[in-house]
Structures are given as C-alpha cells and as structure tokens.
Symmetry: C2
Subunit: 221 residues, 2 copies
Amino acid sequence: MDAVVPTHLNARKRPRQARAAVTLDAIFEATIQLLLSDGPERLTTTRVAERAGVSVGTMYQYFPHKQALIYALNGRYLDKVAQDVEAVCRAQHGAPVAEMVDALVGAYWKAKTARSDVTRALYRSAVELDTESLIESFGRRVDAATSAMFESAADARFADLAIVNTTVLTAIFGTVRSAFERNLQAPLMCGVHKQLVVMCLAYLEAVRLPATADMRAGAQT
Amino acid sequence: MDAVVPTHLNARKRPRQARAAVTLDAIFEATIQLLLSDGPERLTTTRVAERAGVSVGTMYQYFPHKQALIYALNGRYLDKVAQDVEAVCRAQHGAPVAEMVDALVGAYWKAKTARSDVTRALYRSAVELDTESLIESFGRRVDAATSAMFESAADARFADLAIVNTTVLTAIFGTVRSAFERNLQAPLMCGVHKQLVVMCLAYLEAVRLPATADMRAGAQT
DNA sequence: GGAGGATATGAAGGATTCTTCAGCTTGAGG
DNA sequence: CCTCAAGCTGAAGAATCCTTCATATCCTCC
C-alpha cells in the first residue's frame, strides 16, 4: 500500500522502543473497537485515547491528525488482505481455473470474515476520508496478481483477460461487501459464498476461448 | 421504504404550500451537492442551509436534526430505485430468464448511473447513521419482487430459489457498488456491465433444474 | 381586506471536538 | 549512576457545530 500516499496523511514518527509499539497497537485496537461500538460519527480523539489507556497527546505523536489514524488503519488492513490474495495467486499459478476461483474466493472471503467486526468497522470508517488512493492501490495490486494467475491457467485462455479479470474481481469484492452490508445470517452468508464460486466459475466457463491444441495436450505454460 | 422507521428520524412536518415544497427540494439538492463536493464529514446544517439559499431554522422545521435529513434523503432515493426494479419485475413476469436478467441488471445499473453523482454521494453518506433499517427494507422489497419474477420464468425452475435469488441480487448490488467505488473509467465500466449480465446468466444456467415436460411444452405458469 | 396558520429568519446558547505545548517520566547506553 | 532522547501527560485554546426560539413575512381562504 505504499503508493501515492497523500503527504498530509503521513505518520508522524515510528515507534523505536518496545512500549511505543505496544501503545501504537493499543491505539489501533481502540480505534477499531470504537468504530464498532459507536460508529465513525462518534469516533473522537479523546475517546480513542481514553479507550487505549493513553493520553490524547500520545496519539498526536504518531499521527498528525485523526484522519491519518484512520488512513493508517485502513492501509494496514488492506495491505494484509492484498498479501493474502497475492499468496493465493502465487500458490495457484498454473492450476486449473476451477481451483483458482475456489482458492481466490475462499481467501478473500476468509480475509474478510476472519474478523468480520473489523471488516465492518473499516467499511464504515473508509467513507470518512479520501480512501480512494488506498482502494485504487489495493485494486491495482490485486488486479496484477489475479491477472497473472489466470493467464497461467492450465485449462483455459481468455480473449480479453483485462475485462474478464476486472469483472471477476469486481463481482467478488462487491458481493462480499454487499453480503456484509445486508447483514445476512450465517447460513445465507455461507450459501452465498458457495454460490459465488459457482457463479464465477460459470462465468469463466462461458467466456473462455475454445480449447487449443497445446492445452488439450496438457501443456503447463 | 415505509418500514420500521426509527421514530426519532421522522420528518417534522410535510410541506403544505408550494413554496415549502420548493424549499424542501432545495434542501435535498443542496445536501447532495455538498455531500459530493465536500464529503459527509463536512456536511453541516449551516452549509446546507446556505447552499440551499434558506436559513438554518428552515431546515429544522422539516427535520428534527441532521440525521433525519440524511435518512430522508436515502429513503427517497432507495424508494425510487426499488420502484424501478419492481416495475421491471412486473414487466418481465413470465419471460425467459435471459430477458429477465438483462432487464434487471439494466434497470439497476441505469438507476445507479442515471445520476452517478447522487449515487456516489449517498453511498458515502449512508454510513453515517443507522441506514441498516433502510437497506434491509430495500433488500426485502427487491427480494420479493425478483423472487416472484424468477419463479414465473418461462424456461427455468430452480431448486432453492431463495439462495439463488439472494446470490444474484447480492452480486448485482455489490458489483455495481464496487464498480463505482473503484471509479472505473467509462469503457471498463460499460464492459463490466455487459459482463455482469453474462455472469448472472451463466450462473442461473448452471443452477437451474433440468427442463420439465410442461416447460418443454411451453406452458407459462 | 384581514385573520390565522404556514414559513422563514438568524443571532446566540450550549456542547463537542481537534490539536498544541510545556513539563514530567521512563528506558537505554556509556 | 548519569545523561539524554524517547515517550507520555492533560489542561486549555481555538474552532466548529447543532439546535432553539422569539420575531417577521407570506399565503390562503373566508
């Protein structure tokens, strides 16, 4: 997530001692908790500090202002999700499309549901500020990873991979988000997850090019 | 959207004279514009009033507080979208699945892109408050409409329509939202739209039950 | 034309919030 | 043990913001 970070959102300084790192974590955790319990509207610097068990001034030693805090929180999170996705893409390089999709959706879903509270809190916080740069950066990163993966598929080729890839990603991101937003109950949630895999697969099957000779021969590149 | 409206969000009074209606529209419009230009963070009652060319007190004659204003704005909008979708569902009653999907996605996409600025503004504002009741209500309404539509399909039946329907809707809602959020350029945007139809169709094709005798005979109910 | 309700005004009160800074505490290295 | 940088504190200033209400203006209908 180290791309085009609006300068005014830079962190103020990095922790050098152990206790500072602890403090920083406490601040992040407090932010998440407050975001969850009271919503972004009531997220104030004072409350964050209080919840984190530190003083307001302490927070201002690490962040120039409130927005920078939220920005950093989102960056941290998106970075982790992106890493997970990238790992999956590497692992599935050269695999059949079916496995790719299953793994991709699974990874993204897992990353989002692992701490669904955090996910929800961040979905809410993100609106407060210019997260576009973060999202865009995240999008590009994942785009590249999945693109490379699909390109290496053992059993399929696509005419216009760019649009196909974007579509699949947009659908996955969106469906997950939408599912969260509609607050679907566990069983429905789980059902939608499985159906999402089916849907992506059906789509890719529909738009793939007819098999070529080398693919039928089982070539891996 | 007339379901479980949190009482504290009720409008204060309805306009009875023509000029009052004009004022109200101006307030709504001003809210949208400010949401767009400055984001929800900087949406203040004073600014809304100023932009609308009225006094702050005027707004407080129609809304008990700021939240009620945003709530009403969202309600208004979702209601319109729901109406559009319901109309399409009625029109496509008994049609082939392919046409249904095309019409459904088209209608939703159109409703969202007709004034994409407004859509974006509301996507941003909605997080500020308890819009869950609105979204849930909207979801149920659309769910019912599309469910009834798909059930009447001339050329397909589904084993578990509930989950299939939810999946399709979640995917459509989400994909549209995601496309907006990622701020895709026009061509990509258009591409995703078309691909979304392909995707939904491919999915429905994959999960439909094998054709029955009466369907092959062309029965419509 | 005039009475009374519907609308509109906008200064001011009350409540928060963000951010700073001068001074204090803690920890690490010599 | 001592020194100095790193880390922490929290009262207070400055800036908004939300909301009210007493007052003024506009419509409508008799």
